[in-house]
Symmetry: C2
């Protein structure tokens, strides 16, 4: 395996074998290790000393089910912390087939030039791409696929990334060649934009099939893993049937669906935007009610959403996107939400951050809650780069600051997603302590709190929440490094056989002899490295806190505040750092 | 002496004797002590848990020369640190005459109502002031003086404070009843706005003359102090003759005048904007070339600036204001600078932060360097509250973020003032370590580095800079607490008699027996309390650093970067915290 280093200051491309210190790492473990070793903690996120790392997971490119995640890493312009954000799509598998463990993008052009990186079996090269300036992801992808062939994968940024807006995402093409899968969180699209890198084109034709140390054992473990995923209620039934948006009604019933900028946990229009309704609309309009975002996915929670004229509009908006633009903005119109999803994928901004930002703007009085037309107009301004659009494109914290809003739902500058931490206390623990600002995927406490997967905790009580979040964060660090979709966690949490299959696949692929503990250590060590980076960047336990209103405003209908004590939060990483710090 | 506490949530006013824990404190020592005890480190600066403290200095209201400074304190919405910002004008002396050691503004109205606080010998009361909504400081002051009498002092906010913009200032009227003296730095005007407090009207008629423990000794010490101030070259000759703007040519000659957003230390148009030219213009137009910003000032560095039609325009813009809008924006037109000074005083925004922000906006391409008309137009947008205006009104850090500029001259979110830290290394030490973000007044290393006052350090070398900044910061903490104008420091640094006179005045006023060490401990203890607050707010030594470009870009003409090591910076507060932490 090799690392492709491109230096945008010098315009150079260097391909070299993975050096010793990075061997045996993939996905988030690799991006966070490289950032920790090579990026100064206090550096300017949009300056030449930050780096953007793109890395497929350890299992990506194999037949391991759901192993097609691409990790992007760097110092976040949104949070100032380390950041890893991963997406599905076809890029990770194609990179792995070219034998690429990571792309490291360094430096910064002094002339504002825009380039693309072209990767193929014959090597890596930078190509001038000024003709793509100012284009959205959809047009960028269309132009590049026309030029380089429809079998390529594209990793790209839209206008938001070029404008270096701190909520900018990095888009990855799905199997239909659409830029619908995004490394959304933390503004890594702005880092890519600051490097003058518009896109990475991956032509995997002629790439080799990955060599496996023990292909028979690997195949057996992969079959067990697929069977476990099919067997579990969430991954085998709910997600294929209703997608992630199955959660809208579930979380609303739990009184934890943040509504109108986190002023209630219950939205009267929830069902109109939920997965059941979405499924009906999609079927009625000849969309795809079940779809895989990358080859080899056996869950198929993705879908394709059509307009009422039965034409492609966007992928089926995910639960968090539906929430961010729906309940959180008081909007109960799925078509309006889907339009915003499409615009945001095209401009390249995180849908969670953007929806949360719209609600803050509504609280500031820029539009009324529920006014879908005004919300769409605001989203358009992001792509247009007006002063207001740029503010919104920098996320909820900046928007709150500019418009004097104090109820801003962010931790370390990043918006809290679709689960109110006052009604799901475990989620608050994860938001507060996450190494990357408020994030649900980094330790999905919803599982034991609400879905009763991997445990059974009372979501309104604090007991056991810190330990559960810690274990989830360790396990997730491992999954993100393996390149596995987070959703496999549902099966892994409930079934030792599923966890064992991951261990067996890793051992069979690399000829390792990892124990269960060794597998978890992949996650634990990654967390310890991320914490060390954040410390160097100036973060302390005082930053591991929820926004003030979560402690002072009771959330209806449960009328609870966040009750996990500071001391308990500060305990979360103590055993992690003791055990895993290198 | 008493404390006036107003609770804006409840609309209550409470006057009570100064409690034990706050006795013997004044000015910054009192504001920082109250903030440290009563404001949670992690609280939302514009929320109900922050407090705004207004306090005259220990010597304010007496005949001590130059003792009329008013301290404003709170948690800063600009920096997130503790903040004290002080101003001249007549308010501090009037508060002292009413026996008021501090006004503590708590809570927040839920209905957005605007009120004023009226203080007189017959007590304190809140009065509805919705008719003042959206008015600038000049009109606000005119309306209030019409209503309450021309002898009142007014402390007020303009549109920026009402909009809660993080660069908003608090204006204090000068002896001519104009709102020209500002607690400028750190956005405390936004805190006042967040409390719904438009103004404080102080009617000192009927207030008592301050009682002095030993009035004869006090008078003698005050005479010595005045004589020392008259004798020193800076306070006796330069400042009266040319005002603070005497520095433009001096700092330009030193190669340390930040030009066009800190890309050079030399501005070819410096002399056109310097104090010598300003003096000629003022005299030619029948302005006032020498003026006291508060009664009892014996330095008289203030002035009054007329238009070319010989009509009042604004106070003589201070050196840092001239620099911020002049060299730093490539503008060499004093009239344009004075127009912006007037607008910013009226809207109520910090002139340093605003000028630094304009330069960042110019670097972003919003206007060309040197385009005075465009700069004035941008300043007007702040008062109008357009989206762009609000961004600019939130200062350089937010503006840089929104427009993707990475060369942003801020420390802890606050703009570096008019002395490039690469050409005056000692100033960089103060900027980096200040408890309040980049600030020149908190430890004016320019004195030993350039003016050769209080020592003689090579500005391009690192030797001795940390120790000098430490000592200056301790001494300044004392001066800010005594209510003395910072400029007395020039005499104090060079003359033991001047320092002794301060000690003697304090002892004679309060019947104390302070030693020299005790006097300095007023400053040292204040710094230790401020550091403790910042630690609770989440700041670490990683925040005590200059912006990246100061370490990576050489500043012409000396072609130096900032060279004081992180380890040296981290040493600065070690002895302070050892000695003064309580």
């Amino acid at each position: 395996m090799k690392i492709v280093r491109i230096n945008m200051s010098k315009g150079t491309v260097d391909e070299h074998d993975v050096p010793k210190e990075y061997q045996g790492l993939g996905g988030r473990a690799l991006t966070s290790t490289i950032v920790g070793r090579e990026v100064p903690g206090r550096c300017e996120p949009l300056g030449p000393r930050n780096k953007l790392i793109l890395s497929p997971g350890l299992l990506s490119g194999t037949s391991a089910p759901c192993s097609g995640r691409l990790s992007a890493g760097g110092k976040s312009p949104l949070t100032g912390t380390i950041k890893e954000s991963n997406a599905g799509g076809t890029a990770a598998q194609h990179l792995a087939k070219l034998g690429i463990a990571a792309i490291v993008v360094e430096g910064q052009p002094s002339n504002g030039a825009l380039q693309i990186l072209h990767l193929s079996a014959s090597g890596a090269k930078l190509v001038a791409a000024d003709e793509l300036k100012g284009k959205g992801n959809y047009e960028t992808v269309a132009v590049l696929l026309d030029k380089y062939g429809q079998k390529c994968s594209i990793i790209s940024i839209g206008q938001a990334g070029e404008m270096r807006l701190s909520a900018a995402s990095i888009a990855v093409t799905d199997p239909e060649n659409r830029p619908t899968r995004h490394c959304g969180r933390g503004g890594l699209g702005a880092v890519m934009g600051s490097k003058g890198l518009k896109a990475v084109v991956i032509d995997a034709e002629g790439g080799k099939r990955l060599e496996l140390a023990d292909s028979k054992a690997f195949g057996e473990a992969a079959r067990v893993f697929a069977a476990e995923l099919k067997k579990h209620g969430v991954t085998g039934t709910t997600l294929p049937m209703y997608g992630t948006n199955a959660l809208t009604n579930v979380i609303n019933e739990a009184g934890a669906l943040p509504t109108r900028n986190f002023t209630s946990g219950h939205f009267e229009g929830a069902n109109k935007t939920g997965g059941e309704t979405q499924r009906e609309i999609i079927i009625e309009r000849d969309g795809l009610p079940q779809h895989a975002c990358h080859p080899g996915c056996v869950i198929e929670c993705s879908r394709i959403y059509h307009t009422n004229k039965k034409e492609y509009l966007t992928k089926g908006p995910e639960y968090e996107t539906v929430w961010a633009h729906g309940a959180n903005c008081g909007i109960d119109d799925l078509d309006a939400i889907a339009q915003m999803d499409r615009l945001e994928d095209d401009f390249g901004v995180d849908t969670i951050e953007t929806g949360a930002t719209l609600a803050v703007a509504m609280e500031a009085g820029l539009a009324k809650f529920g006014d879908a037309e005004a919300a769409i107009r605001m989203v358009r301004e992001i792509g247009e780069g007006t002063a207001l659009g740029r503010v919104l494109g920098c996320g909820a914290a900046v928007t709150g600051k500019v418009f004097g809003v104090t109820r801003v739902p962010v931790v370390k500058g990043q918006s809290m997603p679709a689960y109110d931490p006052r009604a799901i206390q475990g989620m608050g623990v994860t938001y507060a302590t996450s190494t990357m600002g408020a994030d649900h995927t980094i330790g999905y406490s919803v599982a034991p709190n609400i879905l009763k997967v991997g445990g059974d905790l009372d979501p309104l009580k604090t007991e056991g929440q810190v330990e559960a979040s810690r274990n989830l964060q360790i396990a997730t660090g491992m999954l993100d490094s393996a390149g596995l979709c987070l959703f496999v966690a549902f099966a892994v949490l409930d079934s030792p056989a599923a966890f064992g299959a991951i261990k067996d696949m890793l051992n069979a692929q690399y000829g390792w002899e990892l124990s269960d503990d060794d597998v978890l250590a992949i996650g634990g060590k990654t967390l310890a490295k991320e914490r060390a980076f954040n410390k160097a960047a100036g973060f302390t336990s005082a930053d591991d806190r929820l926004p003030e209103f979560c402690y002072t405003e009771k959330l209806p209908p449960h009328n609870k505040v966040f009750e996990v004590s500071d001391a308990e939060l500060d305990e979360l990483f103590v055993p992690v750092e003791e055990k895993y710090q290198e």
